[in-house]
């Protein structure tokens, strides 16, 4: 039995609490400022009363809505493509010889671990070399390269946990490899697949730096936000930031739920 140390527990709680405040205070401020705008009244600063004006302005802004739809398309397509690739890589890793598997794994992880500016630049040069015009396709390719490792990792952990005995049992009962994949392996991987895709979606949705290199004339939401801030601050930015935060938080929450479901199975 571990000895209780009330002083130490209180200190840990305090440090953790301060850490959380430091992390989340700016986010809360952004959220609050999207509802209560700062105004100058006769030389002094003050808060305007509660208003949804920035949100209304946001919805009326065609450019932002266009950027949002681009971001949603990119995130959806690239996370699904990443899922297919990640599954193939993970199956390869558990069945291939160890050295080959590790070599493959390093190649999968490298674009994620390199500084984004290097990955972005390399992709840009590569697209120029093969003469692929920058646009939606290049953004999606870049995002797939970047998020495959995330899905791969999630799927691989679950796949290794499954071990070989379920596959052996299925084959033993007369199933083919394809039937085994369809009836046994994929259902067992489902929680990992869903949480991997959600995570990839969130990362793709927020990705800015690599996208800047390969976007061409296309605009995703983070790039739009970046562009808006360069020309001057408007209240819509707070509203937009708050919305993005809430969506990301919702996805993170969903991932947590999926992982709990995965542990139960």
């Amino acid at each position: 039995m571990k000895q209780k140390a009330p002083c130490l527990d209180a200190l840990l709680g305090l440090v953790a609490g301060l850490g959380l405040i430091a992390l989340y205070a700016p986010l809360l401020a952004t959220g609050a400022l999207s509802f209560f705008q700062i105004v100058r009244v006769r030389g002094t600063l003050g808060f305007a009363p509660f208003s949804l004006d920035p949100y209304v302005a946001l919805l009326a802004n065609g450019e932002i809505l266009a950027a949002l739809s681009t971001s949603l398309v990119v995130a959806t397509v690239s996370s699904l493509l990443a899922l297919v690739l990640a599954l193939m890589f993970a199956f390869y890793f558990v069945s291939a010889r160890r050295g080959l598997g590790i070599a493959m794994q390093i190649m999968v992880f490298l674009p994620f671990l390199l500084p984004p500016i290097i990955t972005g630049l390399s992709l840009l040069i590569a697209f120029r070399e093969i003469d692929l015009g920058r646009g939606l396709v290049t953004i999606i390719i870049a995002h797939v390269v970047f998020i495959v490792p995330v899905v791969y990792r999630t799927v691989l952990v679950r796949l290794q946990l499954l071990g070989s005995s379920l596959t052996e049992a299925s084959l033993d009962l007369g199933a083919s490899r394809v039937q085994t994949l369809r009836y046994v392996i994929l259902p067992q991987l489902r929680p990992a697949l869903i949480s991997g895709v959600l995570l990839a979606f969130a990362i793709s949705f927020d990705e800015t730096l690599i996208t800047l290199f390969v976007a061409g004339s296309q605009t995703t939401l983070p790039i739009r936000l970046w562009a808006m801030m360069r020309v001057g601050f408007v209240p819509e930015i707070n509203a937009l930031a708050t919305l993005i935060f809430l969506c990301t938080a919702a996805i993170t929450f969903a991932i947590g739920l999926m992982q709990r479901a995965g542990e139960r199975v």
């Binding site: 005995s165 379920l166 052996e168 049992a169 299925s170 084959l171 033993d172 009962l173 007369g174 199933a175 083919s176 039937q179 009836y183 046994v184 259902p187 067992q188 199975v265």
Partner: protein
């Protein structure tokens, strides 16, 4: 008669390690065959080779005279009950059991009917709708069995299926397995390291050690007439006394030991006189005389008396056999009540209870 299955001189290597070395095993139809051995003996590898999970490096695997070596797992007419059961946790019990028929594309109505039948056979009649995660170890075991028998295989492979169960449940499942095997008339190949389990269940036992077959035969034959030192000490307890064979007269032999010339019996061909041999005497066959006036047998001192419930295990040290501990098993009744460590006794055995074994080279 042609055997159902024949492992003909099968060898298997993992890298430089030779796990099976020219194994020869036959399985007859309807037989309950146990492969018994300590961990690392290669017994699980034998099962995995039969099931098709491992290839072989030498020899042949024949099923009813047909070479199975190139037949993949899912085309072999065998089913396996895995040590960890390997149930599909996202499926109900009924779906688990019906899986083998579903992948063969049988109609749903037929599957439902067969699943109900098989669940009845294993005593899980009403639990088809449950998920395996919500069942006890014994119930999961029955699900694994039901899943294996539904496809009516010619042979069922069982990989230490009872090792995860507690003692009482284990005894119950042993009786169940034995009666199930008789009812179904399917050959069972059962892997275990538990010699009591092997003796209780099997028609025939094959003792394996270090990738080789030590001895095979009916449980009683192996227990009464072990032919190798390994079988003698792995299957039940044995006192092994080293010596040199002096003379053979029919089944009766005389052996020179540290304790003088002792008698033993030999089964089958006797080793050449002068060769190194062992006398194997079961603890229950050692005679013990606590009467101080006794003159027969070797003098010994009681080193330890352990109460084991119905039995008492007595350990003796005798100056005639330095370094040897002679184990004696007795019913825990009045005859041994007075024995205490330090007491002087005399021990002996009938020549018929001392089996002569060739010493390991």
């Amino acid at each position: 008669m042609q055997p159902l299955l024949h492992l003909d001189n099968v060898s298997k290597r993992y890298g430089a390690v030779r796990v099976l070395d020219g194994i020869d095993i036959t399985v007859a139809d309807n037989e309950f065959l146990t492969i018994l051995g300590p961990s690392g003996s290669g017994k699980t590898t034998i099962l995995r080779i039969i099931g098709g999970f491992e290839g072989i490096d030498g020899g042949r695997l024949m099923f009813e005279g047909r070479d199975l070596s190139a037949v993949p797992i899912n085309r072999r007419p065998f089913n396996t009950v895995f040590q960890d059961y390997a149930l599909f946790h996202h499926m109900t019990v009924a779906e688990n059991v019906g899986y083998g028929l579903k992948v063969r594309g049988r109609p749903k109505a037929e599957i439902a009917e067969r699943v109900a039948e098989v669940l009845d056979t294993v005593g899980l009649g009403t639990l088809g709708g449950r998920y395996p995660a919500l069942m006890s170890g014994g119930q999961r075991q029955r699900v694994a069995l039901a899943r294996a028998i539904i496809c009516e295989p010619r042979l069922i492979l069982l990989d230490e299926p009872l090792s995860a169960l507690d003692v009482e449940l284990r005894a119950q499942m042993q009786r169940f397995l034995k009666s199930l095997q008789r009812r179904l008339g399917i050959a069972f190949v059962f892997i275990t390291h538990d010699q009591e389990e092997a003796i209780a269940l099997s028609d025939r036992i094959i003792v394996v050690n270090r990738g080789r077959i030590e001895q095979e035969g009916a449980p009683e034959e192996l227990y009464r007439r072990p032919r190798t030192p390994f079988t003698a000490s792995f299957l039940g307890d044995n006192n092994l006394i080293p010596g040199r064979l002096a003379a053979v007269d029919g089944r009766l032999c005389t052996v020179d030991t540290a304790a003088g010339r002792l008698d033993a019996t030999v089964d089958g061909p006797a080793p050449a006189p002068g060769s190194a041999v062992l006398l194997a005497v079961r603890p229950e066959h050692v005679r013990l005389d606590a009467d101080p006036a006794a003159r027969d047998g070797l003098p010994a001192d009681v080193a330890d008396v352990r109460f084991l419930g119905a039995n008492v295990m007595i350990e003796l040290l005798t100056p005639a056999l330095p370094g040897a501990v002679i184990k004696v098993r007795r019913l825990a009744d009045g005859a041994v009540a007075g024995l205490r460590p330090g007491a002087s006794v005399r021990l002996g055995w009938a020549a018929d209870d001392a089996a002569l074994l060739q010493a390991a080279p």
